[in-house]
Amino acid sequence: MSTTRTRAGARYLPPGYWCVRLPRFGSLLLHRRTLAVVAGLSVVALLVAALTVVTGAYHLTPVEALRTLVLGTGSDLDRFIVLDQRLPRVLAALLVGAALGAAGAIFQSVSRNPLGSPDIIGFTTGAATGGLLIILLGGSVTSMTIGAGTIVGGAITALAVVLISLRRGLSGDRLVLGGIAISAILASVNDYLLSRSAIEEAEVAKAWQHGSLNAISWQPLLPLVLVAAIAIPASLLHVRNLRILELGDDTAAGVGLGLTRTRVTALTIGVALTAIAVATAGPIGFLALAAPQLARRLSRSPGVSVLASTAMGALLLIIADLAAQRVLSPFQIPVGLVTAAVGGAYLIWLLVFSRQQSARPSRSPG
């Protein structure tokens, strides 16, 4: 678009965009409002993160906590609480949120459907089933085995749903309804597994089943950091191809995009992000659904923005985790329950009020 010339002979720039000239790589078109939104969301997310670190149930004034954090002063217990309990938890919340936000944006973009998220296609419920089976039936319960169980369970479920809805073309309806049907079976299985185990095990499994950051430490954070550090930049580099893909298969192929290669790359990144998030924190509901949509509405961008969605995911999860810790303190609610309750309500709101939405011409997926 940047090469189209107006009558005056000046370079045409769509309203609301910045054009950044890069010496070697041509030019980059940036949606101004999206950039502002990303900056704003990131700042707020970091502020909330800081607030989460310096406050809490443990008696430590914010100033002391800050000093412990920055200078490493204070007693051993102070350092343990701040550096080994609160800090990894906050990092995990930010990273898991960012990973789910980015993954949601990728899925929604590739499926051209605002409902194409891991929750709707059954990944979340299947992951819970896999994890529950490991916790309740398998003997060895480590974060490694549970993580493996969730990933396998989620992947098998998502694959089954996609295969079912593939018949006669992948339509949004069938994807959604197939996901709901498979999820209904698995939800029954989950309930059954819970009812068949000893009450102590069931309590543990229940807390985990809904996704929780309560007992996170530095050790499980390492794989999360590694995968996020690779996959999130990779997804950002892939945005341009996704944007072209959203124009439709014919157009995208016409401008020389390898359709299958683009899709497979995008989905691989998305699945990797979802899998590492679920393995770290358990299935966190509806975040991947809500973050891209909220980000899009806030930034008024024409399509789903991966960057804005990443920032939005991080902010949503850090806020949800703060609420999960503090609202009913000293009880710790699993953060996945908070996101599912709020996200479910948001989805209902979308369904009720999206009529004006669809009347507005937009290039949004779907």
Binding site: R112, P114, L115, D119, I164, S165, R167, R168, G169, S171, G172, D173, R174, V176, L177, G178, I180, A181, I182, S183, A184, I185, A187, S188, V189, D191, Y192, L194, S195, R196, I199, A202, E203, K206, A207, H210, G285, F286, L328, F331, I333, P334, G336, L337, V338, A340, A341, G343, G344, A345, L347, I348, L350, L351, V352, S354, R355, Q357, S358, G366
Partner: protein
């Protein structure tokens, strides 16, 4: 959000009616009714006979008729009779509610479980237990009514907001979202209270076993009122299938039929959920299976649901007792395994939009 559209089945309904000879249909319906009644009686006796202590039919008959305190009569009357009768009541209630919901929303995928009505009832019941400390089937029942009325009103509100005939998937999605939302809130509440969680995790699967006679007695009048209301709605539901304008021109008052149907659905779903927990898919499977055999006449569908619903729930309960000895599978689990494939088949059969 435009991809949510499915083609309406209303055209088929009208076509079907013209094509099929009504008289033959009525004969088929009568045959199905008799056959179904026979099956229900058979299942009723099987349900009394099968269990961890199998009884022969003569033993069952002996236990039924004598009531002399012998082992057979105790097993039959105190252990198996309540769950069998409860299965019959719950099955009839859920199946009829499913027919009503599908007719009222003109959505073939409408079902109390899928649309979140059961989870609404569950949510309000757990809320009342947690906040008010309300226990006992008597109070729970009223809260279950309240919850199912709120949830049914909510999804119904969504369905009439959209006059477009293309929102079948959207309504189901709204139900799933409602279930997720309320389920999470219920989960948060059960988390604080191990005692509530302990009983909740058994209740939430949906089971007719070990509920005793108390809930049975409590829900029976409400189920009966709900069923009578539903049967009274039958003729008006037929007119409603033609569309709001057509129905009005045929003399149906929309507000009346909607109010009656709504009251009936609330009573049936609330009572069934209060007594047995949320049991999904009965309201989906039964109407679709019947429609394949007897067509779309609502009065016939409603009366046959009274037979087919109990048959399905009884069969599911008996299957659950057989497949996993020495334990049992809850009836809600079995119906989910029977019903979800039916839902998948319905989805696959629909044309791509």
């Amino acid at each position: 959000m435009s991809p949510l559209s499915l083609t309406s089945s209303r055209e088929h309904v009208v076509e079907d009616r013209h094509r099929e000879a009504p008289r033959r249909r009525r004969g088929v319906a009568a045959g199905v009714f008799l056959l179904g009644a026979g099956i229900v009686v058979l299942l009723f006796f099987l349900s009394l006979a099968i269990g961890s202590k199998p009884l022969s039919f003569p033993d069952v008959w002996h236990g039924l008729t004598t009531m002399d305190g012998s082992r057979e009569s105790i097993i039959v009357w105190q252990l198996r009779m309540p769950r069998t009768v409860l299965a019959v009541l719950v099955g009839a209630a859920l199946a009829v509610a499913g027919v009503m919901m599908q007719a009222l929303t003109r959505n073939p995928l409408a079902e109390p479980g899928l649309l979140g009505v059961n989870s609404g009832a569950a949510f309000v019941v757990v809320l009342s237990i947690t906040v008010l400390g309300a226990t006992g089937i008597g109070t729970n029942l009223w809260f279950a009514f309240l919850g199912s009325a709120l949830a049914a009103g909510f999804v119904y509100g969504i369905s009439i907001r959209r006059t477009h005939a293309s929102d079948h998937a959207r309504l189901v999605l709204a139900g799933a979202a409602l279930t997720a939302c309320l389920g999470s809130l219920t989960g948060i509440m059960t988390m604080f209270n191990t005692e509530v969680f302990s009983s909740y995790r058994f209740w939430v699967i949906g089971s007719v076993a070990e509920r005793g006679t108390e809930p049975l007695v409590a829900i029976t009048p409400f189920v009966l009122v709900g069923l009578v209301l539903a049967l009274a709605c039958g003729p008006m539901l037929n007119a409603l299938a033609l569309g709001d304008e057509q129905a009005t021109s045929l003399g149906v008052r929309l507000a009346v039929i909607r109010g009656l149907a709504f009251a009936s659905i609330t009573l049936l779903c609330g009572a069934a959920t209060a007594a047995a927990g949320p049991i999904a898919f009965v309201g989906l499977v039964v109407p679709h299976a019947l429609r394949l055999v007897v067509g779309v006449e609502q009065r016939v569908l409603l009366s046959l649901s009274l037979i087919a619903g109990p048959a399905l729930v009884l069969a599911a309960d008996i299957i659950g007792r057989i497949v996993a000895p020495p334990g049992e599978l809850e009836v809600g689990l079995v119906t989910a395994f029977i019903g979800a494939p039916v839902l998948l088949a319905l989805i696959m059969r629909r044309r791509s939009s």
